[in-house]
Protein backbone atom coordinates (compact mmCIF):
# COMPACT_ATOMS: atom_id res chain seq x y z
CA UNK A 1 0.00 0.00 0.00
CA UNK A 2 1.30 3.50 -0.75
CA UNK A 3 1.49 6.21 1.91
CA UNK A 4 0.45 9.78 1.38
CA UNK A 5 3.47 11.99 2.01
CA UNK A 6 1.38 14.75 3.53
CA UNK A 7 -2.06 14.83 5.09
CA UNK A 8 -4.70 16.15 2.66
CA UNK A 9 -5.36 19.84 3.24
CA UNK A 10 -8.08 20.65 5.79
CA UNK A 11 -10.68 23.17 4.59
CA UNK A 12 -11.96 25.40 7.41
CA UNK A 13 -15.72 25.09 8.18
CA UNK A 14 -16.75 28.57 7.01
CA UNK A 15 -14.91 28.01 3.76
CA UNK A 16 -16.73 24.69 3.25
CA UNK A 17 -20.11 26.38 3.68
CA UNK A 18 -19.09 29.27 1.45
CA UNK A 19 -18.10 26.86 -1.31
CA UNK A 20 -21.31 24.81 -1.08
CA UNK A 21 -23.58 27.87 -1.14
CA UNK A 22 -26.99 28.24 0.47
CA UNK A 23 -29.50 25.40 0.34
CA UNK A 24 -32.72 26.12 -1.51
CA UNK A 25 -35.58 27.43 0.59
CA UNK A 26 -37.56 24.29 -0.30
CA UNK A 27 -34.83 22.03 1.08
CA UNK A 28 -34.95 23.78 4.43
CA UNK A 29 -38.74 24.02 4.47
CA UNK A 30 -39.19 20.26 4.21
CA UNK A 31 -37.36 19.50 7.44
CA UNK A 32 -40.21 18.61 9.82
CA UNK A 33 -40.26 17.95 13.54
CA UNK A 34 -42.70 15.06 13.42
CA UNK A 35 -43.68 11.95 11.47
CA UNK A 36 -46.50 12.88 9.13
CA UNK A 37 -48.53 10.45 7.02
CA UNK A 38 -45.96 10.49 4.21
CA UNK A 39 -42.99 9.71 6.45
CA UNK A 40 -45.07 7.07 8.20
CA UNK A 41 -45.79 5.36 4.89
CA UNK A 42 -42.09 5.54 4.01
CA UNK A 43 -41.07 3.92 7.32
CA UNK A 44 -43.80 1.27 6.95
CA UNK A 45 -42.21 0.16 3.67
CA UNK A 46 -38.56 0.36 4.68
CA UNK A 47 -36.79 -2.92 5.48
CA UNK A 48 -33.39 -1.32 6.19
CA UNK A 49 -31.79 1.61 7.94
CA UNK A 50 -28.34 2.86 8.87
CA UNK A 51 -28.11 4.07 12.46
CA UNK A 52 -25.47 6.57 13.58
CA UNK A 53 -24.52 7.20 17.20
CA UNK A 54 -21.44 8.57 18.98
CA UNK A 55 -20.07 8.40 22.51
CA UNK A 56 -19.43 11.38 24.79
CA UNK A 57 -16.00 11.90 23.24
CA UNK A 58 -17.44 11.94 19.72
CA UNK A 59 -16.21 8.45 18.75
CA UNK A 60 -18.83 7.47 16.21
CA UNK A 61 -20.46 4.27 14.97
CA UNK A 62 -22.81 3.58 12.11
CA UNK A 63 -24.58 0.23 12.17
CA UNK A 64 -27.12 -1.54 9.95
CA UNK A 65 -30.61 -2.54 11.08
CA UNK A 66 -33.01 -4.54 8.95
CA UNK A 67 -36.07 -6.75 8.94
CA UNK A 68 -39.43 -6.91 7.15
CA UNK A 69 -40.74 -3.54 5.87
CA UNK A 70 -42.23 -1.61 8.78
CA UNK A 71 -40.01 -3.32 11.36
CA UNK A 72 -39.50 0.14 12.85
CA UNK A 73 -42.73 0.93 14.68
CA UNK A 74 -44.24 4.39 14.75
CA UNK A 75 -45.57 4.75 18.30
CA UNK A 76 -46.83 8.30 17.71
CA UNK A 77 -45.88 11.24 15.50
CA UNK A 78 -42.87 12.02 17.69
CA UNK A 79 -41.75 8.51 18.64
CA UNK A 80 -40.29 5.48 16.86
CA UNK A 81 -39.20 2.11 18.20
CA UNK A 82 -36.47 -0.03 16.59
CA UNK A 83 -36.23 -3.72 17.59
CA UNK A 84 -32.84 -4.95 18.76
CA UNK A 85 -32.53 -8.29 16.98
CA UNK A 86 -29.65 -10.69 17.75
CA UNK A 87 -26.43 -9.26 16.32
CA UNK A 88 -22.74 -9.27 17.19
CA UNK A 89 -23.30 -8.37 20.87
CA UNK A 90 -20.65 -5.65 20.70
CA UNK A 91 -23.45 -3.23 21.60
CA UNK A 92 -21.66 -0.18 20.19
CA UNK A 93 -24.90 1.71 19.77
CA UNK A 94 -26.17 1.00 23.29
CA UNK A 95 -22.80 1.98 24.80
CA UNK A 96 -22.77 5.21 22.82
CA UNK A 97 -26.36 6.09 23.68
CA UNK A 98 -25.66 5.55 27.38
CA UNK A 99 -23.23 8.49 27.16
CA UNK A 100 -24.75 10.51 24.36
CA UNK A 101 -28.35 9.97 23.36
CA UNK A 102 -28.14 11.65 19.95
CA UNK A 103 -29.07 9.39 17.04
CA UNK A 104 -29.30 9.69 13.25
CA UNK A 105 -31.26 7.25 11.10
CA UNK A 106 -31.28 6.79 7.33
CA UNK A 107 -34.16 4.68 6.02
CA UNK A 108 -33.92 2.95 2.63
CA UNK A 109 -36.58 1.32 0.48
CA UNK A 110 -35.36 -0.94 -2.34
CA UNK A 111 -36.17 0.76 -5.63
CA UNK A 112 -36.66 4.21 -4.11
CA UNK A 113 -33.86 6.68 -4.80
CA UNK A 114 -34.80 9.10 -2.04
CA UNK A 115 -34.00 8.20 1.56
CA UNK A 116 -35.73 9.28 4.76
CA UNK A 117 -33.60 10.86 7.46
CA UNK A 118 -34.73 10.92 11.07
CA UNK A 119 -32.68 12.51 13.84
CA UNK A 120 -33.41 12.64 17.53
CA UNK A 121 -32.57 11.14 20.88
CA UNK A 122 -32.82 7.49 21.85
CA UNK A 123 -32.92 5.17 24.83
CA UNK A 124 -33.35 1.40 25.32
CA UNK A 125 -36.67 -0.03 26.49
CA UNK A 126 -38.14 -3.40 27.46
CA UNK A 127 -41.75 -2.14 27.51
CA UNK A 128 -43.90 -5.25 26.83
CA UNK A 129 -46.44 -3.34 24.70
CA UNK A 130 -43.61 -2.20 22.44
CA UNK A 131 -41.80 -5.55 22.23
CA UNK A 132 -44.99 -7.50 21.50
CA UNK A 133 -45.48 -5.45 18.34
CA UNK A 134 -42.08 -6.66 17.14
CA UNK A 135 -42.83 -10.36 17.53
CA UNK A 136 -41.52 -12.24 14.49
CA UNK A 137 -41.58 -16.01 14.07
CA UNK A 138 -43.08 -16.12 17.56
CA UNK A 139 -40.01 -14.38 19.05
CA UNK A 140 -39.79 -10.95 20.61
CA UNK A 141 -36.60 -8.92 20.81
CA UNK A 142 -35.24 -8.51 24.36
CA UNK A 143 -34.84 -4.78 23.90
CA UNK A 144 -35.91 -2.01 21.59
CA UNK A 145 -34.63 1.51 21.04
CA UNK A 146 -37.13 4.30 21.52
CA UNK A 147 -36.32 7.27 19.29
CA UNK A 148 -37.72 10.66 20.25
CA UNK A 149 -37.92 12.38 16.92
CA UNK A 150 -36.55 15.91 16.41
CA UNK A 151 -36.08 16.10 12.63
CA UNK A 152 -37.60 14.16 9.74
CA UNK A 153 -36.92 14.78 6.07
CA UNK A 154 -36.67 13.16 2.69
CA UNK A 155 -33.13 13.23 1.33
CA UNK A 156 -32.76 13.69 -2.41
CA UNK A 157 -31.88 10.72 -4.60
CA UNK A 158 -28.62 11.86 -6.23
CA UNK A 159 -26.37 9.61 -4.15
CA UNK A 160 -28.46 6.55 -4.97
CA UNK A 161 -28.71 7.51 -8.64
CA UNK A 162 -24.94 7.96 -8.93
CA UNK A 163 -24.30 4.73 -7.02
CA UNK A 164 -26.75 2.71 -9.18
CA UNK A 165 -27.69 1.12 -5.87
CA UNK A 166 -30.93 -0.47 -7.08
CA UNK A 167 -29.71 -1.46 -10.54
CA UNK A 168 -29.64 -5.29 -10.54
CA UNK A 169 -26.51 -5.16 -12.71
CA UNK A 170 -24.69 -3.53 -9.78
CA UNK A 171 -24.80 -6.83 -7.93
CA UNK A 172 -21.97 -8.07 -10.18
CA UNK A 173 -19.73 -6.12 -7.77
CA UNK A 174 -20.29 -8.82 -5.13
CA UNK A 175 -18.18 -11.27 -7.17
CA UNK A 176 -15.14 -8.98 -6.74
CA UNK A 177 -15.19 -9.12 -2.93
CA UNK A 178 -13.51 -11.92 -0.96
CA UNK A 179 -15.81 -13.98 1.27
CA UNK A 180 -15.98 -13.08 4.99
CA UNK A 181 -13.93 -16.20 5.73
CA UNK A 182 -11.22 -15.19 3.25
CA UNK A 183 -11.11 -11.71 4.77
CA UNK A 184 -10.89 -13.00 8.35
CA UNK A 185 -8.10 -15.44 7.47
CA UNK A 186 -6.13 -12.76 5.65
CA UNK A 187 -6.68 -10.12 8.31
CA UNK A 188 -5.88 -12.38 11.27
CA UNK A 189 -3.14 -14.38 9.52
CA UNK A 190 -4.84 -17.71 10.25
CA UNK A 191 -3.88 -21.06 8.76
CA UNK A 192 -7.40 -22.32 8.11
CA UNK A 193 -9.70 -23.15 5.25
CA UNK A 194 -11.81 -20.03 4.73
CA UNK A 195 -14.78 -22.26 3.87
CA UNK A 196 -14.79 -23.38 7.51
CA UNK A 197 -15.42 -19.82 8.70
CA UNK A 198 -17.90 -19.14 5.90
CA UNK A 199 -19.96 -22.25 6.68
CA UNK A 200 -20.01 -21.41 10.42
CA UNK A 201 -21.17 -17.91 9.53
CA UNK A 202 -23.90 -19.32 7.29
CA UNK A 203 -25.04 -21.65 10.10
CA UNK A 204 -25.22 -18.60 12.41
CA UNK A 205 -27.32 -16.76 9.82
CA UNK A 206 -30.00 -19.43 10.27
CA UNK A 207 -30.82 -17.89 13.65
CA UNK A 208 -32.18 -14.52 12.62
CA UNK A 209 -34.57 -13.91 15.52
Amino acid sequence: MTHALTRPRRVPPDEVLARLGEPEAMTKAKIFDRIDQYSRRFIAHSPFLAMATADAAGRADCTPRGDYPGFVKVLDERTLAIPDRPGNKIADSFRNLAENDGIGLLFLIPGVRETLRVNGRAYPTDEPDVLVRMQTEAKEPMLALVVEVAEVYLHCGRALIRSRLWDPASQALAAEIPSPGEMAIGQLGLDLDPKLIDSRLEAGYRELY
Binding site: A44, Y68, V132, R133, Q135, A138
Partner: protein, 302 residues
Amino acid sequence: MQLTILDRVDRVADGVVSLVLRGAAGELEPWEPGAHIDLALPNWLTRQYSLCGDPADRERYRIAVRHDPLSRGGSEYVHLFLRQGRPLEVSEPRNNFPLLPAPEYLFLAGGIGITPILPMLRAATRAGAAARLVYAGRSAATMPFTDELRSSYGDRVTVLAEDEHGRPDLAALAAGLSPRALVYCCGPAPMLAAAEAAFPAGRLHIERFRPTPRTFPPNTAFEVVCARSGRTVPVSPEESMLDALTYAGLPVASGCREGVCGSCELTVLDGEPEHRDDIGAPAGRMYACVSRARSPRLVVDL
Protein backbone atom coordinates in the same frame (compact mmCIF):
# COMPACT_ATOMS: atom_id res chain seq x y z
CA MET B 1 -51.65 -18.65 -4.72
CA GLN B 2 -54.38 -16.69 -6.49
CA LEU B 3 -54.11 -13.12 -7.68
CA THR B 4 -56.84 -10.74 -6.59
CA ILE B 5 -57.50 -7.02 -6.84
CA LEU B 6 -58.53 -5.09 -3.74
CA ASP B 7 -61.89 -3.85 -4.98
CA ARG B 8 -63.33 -2.19 -1.89
CA VAL B 9 -62.26 -1.09 1.55
CA ASP B 10 -65.17 -0.20 3.83
CA ARG B 11 -65.14 0.78 7.47
CA VAL B 12 -67.75 -1.52 9.03
CA ALA B 13 -67.27 -0.66 12.74
CA ASP B 14 -64.87 1.27 14.95
CA GLY B 15 -61.46 -0.15 14.16
CA VAL B 16 -62.77 -2.70 11.64
CA VAL B 17 -62.55 -2.60 7.84
CA SER B 18 -64.05 -5.01 5.37
CA LEU B 19 -62.04 -5.82 2.25
CA VAL B 20 -63.50 -7.15 -0.97
CA LEU B 21 -60.94 -9.02 -3.11
CA ARG B 22 -61.92 -9.68 -6.71
CA GLY B 23 -60.29 -12.50 -8.67
CA ALA B 24 -57.89 -10.94 -11.18
CA ALA B 25 -58.52 -13.82 -13.61
CA GLY B 26 -62.24 -14.31 -12.99
CA GLU B 27 -63.40 -17.11 -10.71
CA LEU B 28 -61.66 -17.77 -7.43
CA GLU B 29 -61.24 -21.16 -5.74
CA PRO B 30 -64.46 -22.31 -4.04
CA TRP B 31 -64.82 -22.43 -0.25
CA GLU B 32 -67.12 -23.61 2.51
CA PRO B 33 -68.20 -21.67 5.60
CA GLY B 34 -65.45 -21.61 8.24
CA ALA B 35 -62.65 -21.34 5.65
CA HIS B 36 -59.84 -18.80 5.77
CA ILE B 37 -57.24 -17.48 3.35
CA ASP B 38 -53.67 -16.33 3.75
CA LEU B 39 -53.35 -12.74 2.60
CA ALA B 40 -49.84 -11.80 1.43
CA LEU B 41 -49.32 -8.16 2.37
CA PRO B 42 -46.97 -5.78 0.56
CA ASN B 43 -44.78 -5.63 3.71
CA TRP B 44 -43.87 -9.33 3.26
CA LEU B 45 -46.11 -10.42 6.14
CA THR B 46 -48.76 -13.09 5.58
CA ARG B 47 -51.88 -13.07 7.70
CA GLN B 48 -54.87 -15.39 7.93
CA TYR B 49 -58.39 -14.05 7.66
CA SER B 50 -61.70 -15.92 7.70
CA LEU B 51 -63.86 -15.53 4.63
CA CYS B 52 -67.05 -13.71 5.60
CA GLY B 53 -68.76 -13.18 2.24
CA ASP B 54 -71.05 -15.46 0.29
CA PRO B 55 -69.51 -18.74 -1.00
CA ALA B 56 -71.94 -18.54 -3.95
CA ASP B 57 -70.10 -15.42 -5.20
CA ARG B 58 -67.27 -17.10 -7.09
CA GLU B 59 -65.71 -13.81 -8.22
CA ARG B 60 -65.06 -12.25 -4.83
CA TYR B 61 -63.78 -12.96 -1.35
CA ARG B 62 -64.72 -10.76 1.58
CA ILE B 63 -62.70 -10.53 4.79
CA ALA B 64 -62.89 -8.17 7.77
CA VAL B 65 -59.88 -6.97 9.76
CA ARG B 66 -59.74 -5.37 13.20
CA HIS B 67 -56.89 -2.93 13.83
CA ASP B 68 -55.09 -4.47 16.79
CA PRO B 69 -53.47 -1.66 18.84
CA LEU B 70 -50.61 -4.11 19.52
CA SER B 71 -50.43 -5.12 15.85
CA ARG B 72 -47.28 -6.99 14.83
CA GLY B 73 -47.58 -5.36 11.42
CA GLY B 74 -50.51 -7.15 9.75
CA SER B 75 -53.69 -5.38 10.79
CA GLU B 76 -51.86 -2.05 11.10
CA TYR B 77 -50.75 -2.37 7.49
CA VAL B 78 -54.25 -3.26 6.31
CA HIS B 79 -55.76 -0.28 8.10
CA LEU B 80 -53.18 2.41 7.38
CA PHE B 81 -51.51 1.54 4.11
CA LEU B 82 -53.48 -0.86 1.93
CA ARG B 83 -54.97 0.94 -1.06
CA GLN B 84 -57.97 0.17 -3.18
CA GLY B 85 -57.04 -1.24 -6.59
CA ARG B 86 -53.87 -2.90 -5.39
CA PRO B 87 -53.19 -6.46 -6.61
CA LEU B 88 -52.90 -8.88 -3.68
CA GLU B 89 -51.98 -12.56 -3.61
CA VAL B 90 -54.11 -14.86 -1.49
CA SER B 91 -53.88 -18.59 -0.86
CA GLU B 92 -56.51 -21.11 -1.77
CA PRO B 93 -59.11 -21.26 1.01
CA ARG B 94 -58.36 -23.71 3.80
CA ASN B 95 -60.91 -24.91 6.34
CA ASN B 96 -59.90 -25.86 9.88
CA PHE B 97 -63.36 -24.97 11.16
CA PRO B 98 -65.83 -26.85 8.94
CA LEU B 99 -69.56 -26.75 9.61
CA LEU B 100 -70.78 -30.30 10.27
CA PRO B 101 -74.39 -31.16 9.43
CA ALA B 102 -76.78 -30.83 12.39
CA PRO B 103 -80.48 -30.06 12.89
CA GLU B 104 -79.70 -27.25 15.35
CA TYR B 105 -76.80 -24.88 15.92
CA LEU B 106 -75.73 -22.41 18.53
CA PHE B 107 -73.17 -19.95 17.15
CA LEU B 108 -71.09 -17.89 19.55
CA ALA B 109 -69.05 -15.00 18.19
CA GLY B 110 -66.82 -12.55 20.05
CA GLY B 111 -65.83 -9.32 18.28
CA ILE B 112 -64.06 -9.92 14.98
CA GLY B 113 -64.68 -13.66 15.60
CA ILE B 114 -67.99 -12.99 13.86
CA THR B 115 -66.26 -13.38 10.47
CA PRO B 116 -66.30 -17.21 10.04
CA ILE B 117 -69.69 -17.36 11.76
CA LEU B 118 -71.44 -15.11 9.19
CA PRO B 119 -71.33 -17.63 6.30
CA MET B 120 -71.98 -20.50 8.75
CA LEU B 121 -75.17 -18.88 9.97
CA ARG B 122 -76.28 -18.26 6.39
CA ALA B 123 -75.55 -21.87 5.34
CA ALA B 124 -77.23 -23.36 8.42
CA THR B 125 -80.33 -21.23 7.92
CA ARG B 126 -80.50 -22.09 4.20
CA ALA B 127 -80.19 -25.78 5.07
CA GLY B 128 -83.29 -25.40 7.22
CA ALA B 129 -81.51 -25.94 10.55
CA ALA B 130 -82.61 -24.13 13.70
CA ALA B 131 -79.68 -21.73 14.08
CA ARG B 132 -79.14 -19.15 16.76
CA LEU B 133 -76.33 -16.63 17.17
CA VAL B 134 -75.08 -14.97 20.34
CA TYR B 135 -72.72 -12.19 19.28
CA ALA B 136 -70.70 -10.47 21.98
CA GLY B 137 -68.36 -7.47 21.75
CA ARG B 138 -66.81 -4.71 23.86
CA SER B 139 -69.29 -2.05 22.73
CA ALA B 140 -71.91 -1.76 19.98
CA ALA B 141 -69.76 0.63 17.92
CA THR B 142 -66.89 -1.89 17.71
CA MET B 143 -69.09 -4.77 16.47
CA PRO B 144 -69.29 -5.16 12.68
CA PHE B 145 -72.27 -6.51 10.72
CA THR B 146 -74.89 -6.10 13.49
CA ASP B 147 -77.40 -4.34 11.18
CA GLU B 148 -76.95 -6.98 8.48
CA LEU B 149 -77.46 -9.75 11.06
CA ARG B 150 -80.55 -8.19 12.64
CA SER B 151 -82.25 -7.56 9.32
CA SER B 152 -81.50 -11.05 7.97
CA TYR B 153 -82.10 -13.15 11.05
CA GLY B 154 -84.25 -11.04 13.41
CA ASP B 155 -84.61 -12.48 16.88
CA ARG B 156 -82.46 -15.51 16.09
CA VAL B 157 -79.53 -13.12 16.70
CA THR B 158 -78.72 -11.77 20.16
CA VAL B 159 -76.22 -8.90 20.18
CA LEU B 160 -74.55 -8.33 23.55
CA ALA B 161 -72.36 -5.27 23.95
CA GLU B 162 -70.32 -5.83 27.09
CA ASP B 163 -70.49 -2.19 28.21
CA GLU B 164 -74.32 -2.37 28.18
CA HIS B 165 -75.22 -6.01 28.80
CA GLY B 166 -72.12 -7.61 30.31
CA ARG B 167 -70.70 -10.85 29.01
CA PRO B 168 -72.93 -13.63 27.68
CA ASP B 169 -74.03 -16.19 30.26
CA LEU B 170 -72.56 -19.29 28.65
CA ALA B 171 -73.58 -21.54 31.55
CA ALA B 172 -77.23 -20.59 30.99
CA LEU B 173 -76.85 -21.18 27.23
CA ALA B 174 -75.28 -24.58 27.93
CA ALA B 175 -78.07 -25.51 30.35
CA GLY B 176 -80.67 -24.67 27.72
CA LEU B 177 -78.81 -26.33 24.84
CA SER B 178 -80.84 -28.77 22.78
CA PRO B 179 -79.28 -32.25 22.76
CA ARG B 180 -79.35 -32.10 18.95
CA ALA B 181 -77.40 -28.84 18.70
CA LEU B 182 -73.75 -28.29 17.76
CA VAL B 183 -71.94 -25.23 19.12
CA TYR B 184 -69.52 -23.18 16.99
CA CYS B 185 -67.48 -20.52 18.75
CA CYS B 186 -64.94 -18.00 17.46
CA GLY B 187 -63.64 -15.11 19.48
CA PRO B 188 -60.93 -13.90 21.84
CA ALA B 189 -59.11 -16.35 24.14
CA PRO B 190 -61.18 -15.64 27.31
CA MET B 191 -64.40 -16.35 25.41
CA LEU B 192 -63.02 -19.60 24.01
CA ALA B 193 -61.90 -20.66 27.48
CA ALA B 194 -65.35 -19.87 28.89
CA ALA B 195 -67.00 -21.85 26.07
CA GLU B 196 -64.69 -24.82 26.70
CA ALA B 197 -65.67 -24.73 30.36
CA ALA B 198 -69.41 -24.43 29.62
CA PHE B 199 -70.07 -26.82 26.72
CA PRO B 200 -69.38 -30.56 26.32
CA ALA B 201 -66.20 -31.11 24.30
CA GLY B 202 -67.81 -33.37 21.68
CA ARG B 203 -70.32 -30.73 20.66
CA LEU B 204 -68.16 -27.61 20.76
CA HIS B 205 -66.13 -26.50 17.73
CA ILE B 206 -63.83 -23.53 18.15
CA GLU B 207 -61.40 -21.53 16.08
CA ARG B 208 -58.50 -19.56 17.55
CA PHE B 209 -56.74 -16.49 16.16
CA ARG B 210 -53.73 -16.95 18.42
CA PRO B 211 -52.19 -20.01 20.07
CA THR B 212 -53.06 -21.00 23.61
CA PRO B 213 -50.12 -20.47 25.97
CA ARG B 214 -48.90 -23.95 26.90
CA THR B 215 -45.68 -25.57 28.03
CA PHE B 216 -44.15 -28.52 26.26
CA PRO B 217 -41.47 -31.04 27.17
CA PRO B 218 -37.95 -29.90 26.18
CA ASN B 219 -37.22 -30.06 22.46
CA THR B 220 -35.27 -33.07 21.27
CA ALA B 221 -33.37 -33.63 18.05
CA PHE B 222 -34.93 -35.82 15.36
CA GLU B 223 -34.61 -36.67 11.70
CA VAL B 224 -37.06 -35.99 8.94
CA VAL B 225 -36.95 -38.36 6.01
CA CYS B 226 -38.54 -36.77 2.96
CA ALA B 227 -39.99 -39.68 1.05
CA ARG B 228 -40.48 -37.96 -2.29
CA SER B 229 -37.10 -36.25 -2.53
CA GLY B 230 -35.17 -38.99 -0.74
CA ARG B 231 -33.53 -36.39 1.52
CA THR B 232 -32.94 -36.80 5.25
CA VAL B 233 -32.92 -33.56 7.24
CA PRO B 234 -31.75 -33.38 10.87
CA VAL B 235 -33.77 -31.06 13.14
CA SER B 236 -31.82 -29.75 16.13
CA PRO B 237 -33.55 -28.87 19.44
CA GLU B 238 -32.97 -25.16 18.71
CA GLU B 239 -34.87 -25.02 15.44
CA SER B 240 -38.34 -25.78 14.14
CA MET B 241 -38.96 -28.58 11.67
CA LEU B 242 -40.26 -25.94 9.25
CA ASP B 243 -37.02 -23.95 9.44
CA ALA B 244 -34.83 -27.05 9.17
CA LEU B 245 -36.66 -28.17 6.02
CA THR B 246 -36.55 -24.67 4.55
CA TYR B 247 -32.81 -24.27 5.19
CA ALA B 248 -32.21 -27.71 3.70
CA GLY B 249 -33.75 -26.43 0.47
CA LEU B 250 -37.10 -28.19 0.93
CA PRO B 251 -39.34 -25.19 1.48
CA VAL B 252 -42.73 -25.80 3.06
CA ALA B 253 -45.49 -23.20 2.72
CA SER B 254 -45.99 -21.33 5.97
CA GLY B 255 -48.30 -18.72 7.42
CA CYS B 256 -48.75 -17.98 11.12
CA ARG B 257 -45.74 -20.05 12.29
CA GLU B 258 -47.55 -20.59 15.57
CA GLY B 259 -49.76 -23.58 14.93
CA VAL B 260 -53.12 -21.91 14.23
CA CYS B 261 -53.45 -21.47 10.46
CA GLY B 262 -52.58 -24.86 8.97
CA SER B 263 -50.54 -23.56 5.97
CA CYS B 264 -47.58 -25.84 6.71
CA GLU B 265 -49.55 -29.10 6.90
CA LEU B 266 -47.49 -32.18 5.99
CA THR B 267 -48.56 -35.77 5.45
CA VAL B 268 -46.80 -38.12 7.89
CA LEU B 269 -46.03 -41.53 6.40
CA ASP B 270 -44.16 -43.04 9.35
CA GLY B 271 -43.01 -42.13 12.87
CA GLU B 272 -44.85 -40.49 15.73
CA PRO B 273 -45.37 -36.71 15.61
CA GLU B 274 -45.61 -34.65 18.80
CA HIS B 275 -48.48 -32.31 17.98
CA ARG B 276 -48.15 -28.81 19.42
CA ASP B 277 -50.68 -27.01 17.22
CA ASP B 278 -54.02 -25.46 18.15
CA ILE B 279 -55.87 -26.82 15.13
CA GLY B 280 -56.04 -30.48 16.11
CA ALA B 281 -54.13 -32.22 13.32
CA PRO B 282 -56.14 -34.92 11.53
CA ALA B 283 -54.68 -38.43 11.62
CA GLY B 284 -51.60 -38.72 9.42
CA ARG B 285 -51.03 -34.97 9.26
CA MET B 286 -48.85 -32.52 11.18
CA TYR B 287 -47.97 -28.82 11.24
CA ALA B 288 -44.22 -28.36 10.84
CA CYS B 289 -44.07 -24.85 12.30
CA VAL B 290 -44.64 -25.96 15.91
CA SER B 291 -44.95 -29.74 16.01
CA ARG B 292 -41.98 -32.04 16.53
CA ALA B 293 -41.42 -35.80 16.90
CA ARG B 294 -41.73 -38.37 19.66
CA SER B 295 -39.92 -40.95 17.56
CA PRO B 296 -36.29 -40.34 16.45
CA ARG B 297 -37.45 -40.31 12.83
CA LEU B 298 -40.41 -38.99 10.91
CA VAL B 299 -41.11 -39.88 7.32
CA VAL B 300 -43.08 -37.19 5.52
CA ASP B 301 -44.50 -36.87 2.03
CA LEU B 302 -42.18 -34.15 0.77
